[in-house]
């Protein structure tokens, strides 16, 4: 692209693109990066571009609207603190995984001119603002939560069957590593097939961590021993019969 005089006097830029391929996407990013390098006088910038590689220091920028999906949030957050002329900030993220935003704080203490911040789907771990700033902050579409604390999951587990709990255990690390305070295994569940052998063994493994183990396995000693031995074919470490 050749432009006489360049883009040095550009004060407003809005860029919307719908790339058809990865190649297109890369071209768009390169073009925008080049353009931003030229446009030193920008006052308004609105970019609908996923994965913006970098943001130059825009010394006159007052209104900034960015899409921070595609892992751009941690890269751009430190740059934002240098944009001291900024008056309005809009950050959007359409990602399904919010881990990067959650791990990144947004320190805007240096931005004393800031009047409005809107975070749409981009949720930082912390947001710090200049003291005395009159500010309207809107956080919308906050789809990602940190997991519930283990104590709450433990309380929830009391209302669930072994099968349902095993499903929930696969949700996240907190549920997988949870110490169940109480494990119940009933003979009739095994007989009726509502709890299979693998399920009972799964529960017995969890029982290593339990404070209370309730085995409702009526019958004579031989039957009880046979049931437990069968269950313990996949014997957890430290268990002996």
């Amino acid at each position: 692209m050749q432009v006489s005089g360049g883009f040095g006097r550009l004060t407003g830029l809005s860029f919307r693109a719908s790339p058809q391929s990865e190649e297109d996407k890369e071209h768009h990013k390169m073009a925008v990066a080049w353009l931003l390098g030229q446009a030193k006088e920008l006052v308004f910038l609105s970019l609908d571009l996923v994965g913006l590689p970098y943001l130059p220091h825009l010394s006159h920028i007052q209104h900034l609207q960015l899409d921070v999906s595609g892992g751009a949030f941690p890269r751009l957050a430190p740059v934002l603190t240098t944009l001291v002329t900024l008056r309005t900030l809009y950050l959007e993220s359409t990602e399904t995984q919010g881990a990067q935003e959650e791990a990144t704080g947004l320190d805007l203490q240096t931005l004393t001119e800031l009047e409005s911040v809107m975070l749409d789907g981009a949720v930082p771990s912390a947001l710090t603002l200049a003291e005395g700033t009159s500010l309207r902050v809107t956080v919308s579409q906050m789809p990602h939560h940190t997991s519930l604390p283990p104590e709450i999951w433990q309380a929830i587990a009391r209302y669930l069957s072994a099968r349902d709990w095993a499903r929930v255990a696969g949700v996240c690390k907190t549920t997988w590593q949870l110490r169940l305070p109480e494990v119940r295994i009933k003979q009739n569940e095994l007989r009726q097939g509502t709890l299979c052998r693998e399920g009972a063994a799964w529960l017995l493994k969890r029982a290593q961590l339990a404070r209370e183990l309730l085995l409702d396995l009526p019958g004579d000693i031989a039957e009880l021993q046979a049931t437990l031995t069968a269950l313990m074919q996949d014997k957890p470490r430290g268990w002996n019969f």
Binding site: P143, E151, A155, A166, R167, W176, W202
Partner: protein, 165 residues
């Protein structure tokens, strides 16, 4: 009866009877620690909207508990259960914030109610559905996830299918 002000993290004040506020053990212990003349209790972990909902529970339960003389225990319990059932009909997002608030404020009855509500929502659902439902993030490494999938395979098979075998 003494009233106090509970201040949410976003600065909204709620005037509430101390008796109702003290269903929260956190508020109770804060009041014990703060000077007697203190009327405002800051709650930095609860937003206005959620605090309003929590206080609705506290006020209702205090009022029902106070009606000792005019109704029988059984009737009171039935009334409370019916009210609780209506109260907990909220969106999953609200439920998430409510359970977190009940945990922080330490309101045992409300915490149990929320946990039961969450259990009812996730019963029979796949891990992916539970994640979607509460906006939770899957944070397993790939090999760890494969191991979990293998270990939990029995739970993902339909219960009735399993019983037939």
């Amino acid at each position: 009866m003494r009233s106090i002000i509970l201040r949410s993290c976003d600065g909204a004040d709620h005037v509430v009877a101390q008796e109702a506020a003290c269903l929260s053990k956190t508020v109770q212990s804060l009041l014990e620690e703060l000077e007697e003349s203190t009327l405002v209790v800051p709650l930095p972990n609860v937003c206005d909207c959620t605090l309003r909902k929590v206080l609705q529970y506290c006020t209702q339960h205090t009022a029902l508990q106070r009606r000792v003389t005019d109704i029988s225990d059984e009737l009171r319990t039935r009334e409370m259960e019916a009210w609780d059932k209506r109260y907990i009909m909220v969106s999953t997002d609200e439920l998430y914030h409510l359970v977190m608030a009940a945990h922080y404020l330490n309101v045992p009855g409300l915490l149990e109610l929320c946990c039961e509500g969450i259990a009812n929502l996730i019963r029979g659902k796949s891990p992916e559905h539970v994640r979607q439902c509460f906006g939770l993030v899957k944070n397993f490494e790939a090999p760890e996830e494969e191991n979990i999938r293998r270990t939990n395979l029995w739970a993902l098979v339909d219960e009735k299918e399993q019983a037939k075998k």
